[in-house]
């Protein structure tokens, strides 16, 4: 099973796949996304009192339904990161950047997002970052355009 059999030319054509679903967001995720539109970040208090952000409808550990939403900060701490040297189309930043888990102040879990930094030497676990808001909010996670480093 070689890649080309007998030197025959293989014909190629693009295939664009779209899954055009609209999603309803419900009372918890919907409240979070609505908050982003107003530049507020909401978490939710878990069964053990920890604040889960972004908020989950059910406790990540016990599965208990959750409803006590609390506002958290727009600044936070990097809990893990990796380097994206060649961003693909559709990623939040078109320049090389860090993909990161960020624990916002007042939250006990981490949010996935990107950090706009010039190179991997500029970011580290424990670094302090803040939200850079999108100019035109849409009620999506991308209303957070990215995170940026807080000056030391």
């Amino acid at each position: 099973m070689n890649d080309a059999q007998g030197g025959a030319e293989l014909l190629h054509a693009p295939l664009v796949i779209e899954y055009g679903f609209m999603r309803t967001t419900g009372p918890v995720i919907g409240a979070f996304l609505t908050g982003l539109r107003e530049q507020r970040v909401l978490g939710i208090r878990g069964a053990d009192g920890r604040v889960v952000c972004p908020p989950a409808e059910y406790d990540p550990t016990t599965g208990a339904p959750l409803s006590d939403m609390v506002e958290v900060g727009a600044e936070g701490t990097v809990t893990s990161w990796s380097w994206v040297a060649e961003p693909r189309e559709d990623e939040p930043l078109s320049t090389p950047h860090a993909l990161a888990l960020i624990r916002l102040d007042g939250a006990d879990t981490s949010m996935l997002h990107v950090i706009d930094v010039p190179g991997p030497d500029s970011v580290r676990t424990g670094a302090r970052v803040r939200i850079r808001w999108a100019e035109e909010p849409e009620g999506l996670i991308t209303d957070i355009a990215c995170f940026e480093l807080l000056e030391a």
Partner: protein, 353 residues
Amino acid sequence: MAPARDVAVVATAQTDHRRALPELSEVEMIQPVIRQVLDAVGGIGEIDFTCSGSSDYLAGQAFSFVMTLDAVGAYPPIVESHVEMDGAWALYEAWLKIQAGHADTALVYSYSKASPGDLPKVMSRGLDPYYYGPLWPDSVAMAGLQARAMLDAGTITAEEMAQIAHRNRTAATANPHAQVSGSPSVDELLAAPMFSDPLRRHDLPPISDGGVAVVLAAGDRARAWSDRPAWIRGIDHRIDSHNFGARDLTTAPSIALAAQKAGLAGAAVDIAELHAPFSHQEKIVRTELGLGDGVEVNPSGGALAANPMLAAGLIRIAEVADRISAGTAGRGVAHATGGQLLQQNLVCVLEGE
């Protein structure tokens, strides 16, 4: 709890996995593999239940598995099912069907071609669609978050990661189906630049086209078809939260729970085939399974040698079963994972008699 019925893997086959098989459709790719296991047991007429694993996101069309059923043949009619998961979970469904007494034999297969698309990007479509999906995080950078968490916590070192990659790809030189085999020295690996910091290229699995097929049979049917069936002593699957930011990424408790439910601790194993696509993940799986130093891990080279999506987990079961049936192993454990960052995990304990 011991299974009610003794069920064994009696035949396996897999493709020679390659980066791209552009001249073959999914059906053409998997049909010879299905044919091989069916020939070993007397044909599709002997099979009570057929279950497959594949992904529409990779095939590029809805209900793509229906097309692939052509590879099983149009006649006789079959009873069949499908999971949008690794074939290890298709095997689990078939095993349940046999446990329930609704079948005595089963054909299980799974396959994918990742080559037509951009796999690290396609993988992001399996994530939470509200918080993660809109960021289109590539699967390599996602894995890097987990590796970084382990490096920061001191549960692995870059040297250990290179050693894992080196050991797997060296072992793969004895695996005729492997896509990537042989490895530069650990020192040479560590001298390479970062690919997606903290991952170097050797920490990544290859992107593969390929597939695998297995036949299961109960009791005397298994003994009739195999001189030394690989009996499934226990099988279980568990899941950790899809909310990766709320997980401790240095662990995967669902693996330990699945291993406990599958009865792994009941007796020592000789070999383990672990579905750890990224080098650092092998350390997590190994730790959660509690494997001792005497266990031979990934004699096939594992997912670092060939990683056909939806098939690499079932291949682990096939690799353990092959060694038991060949008499080179007495008892072994196979692990399969689904999703990213070891989110879903299946553990299967196999034994000869």
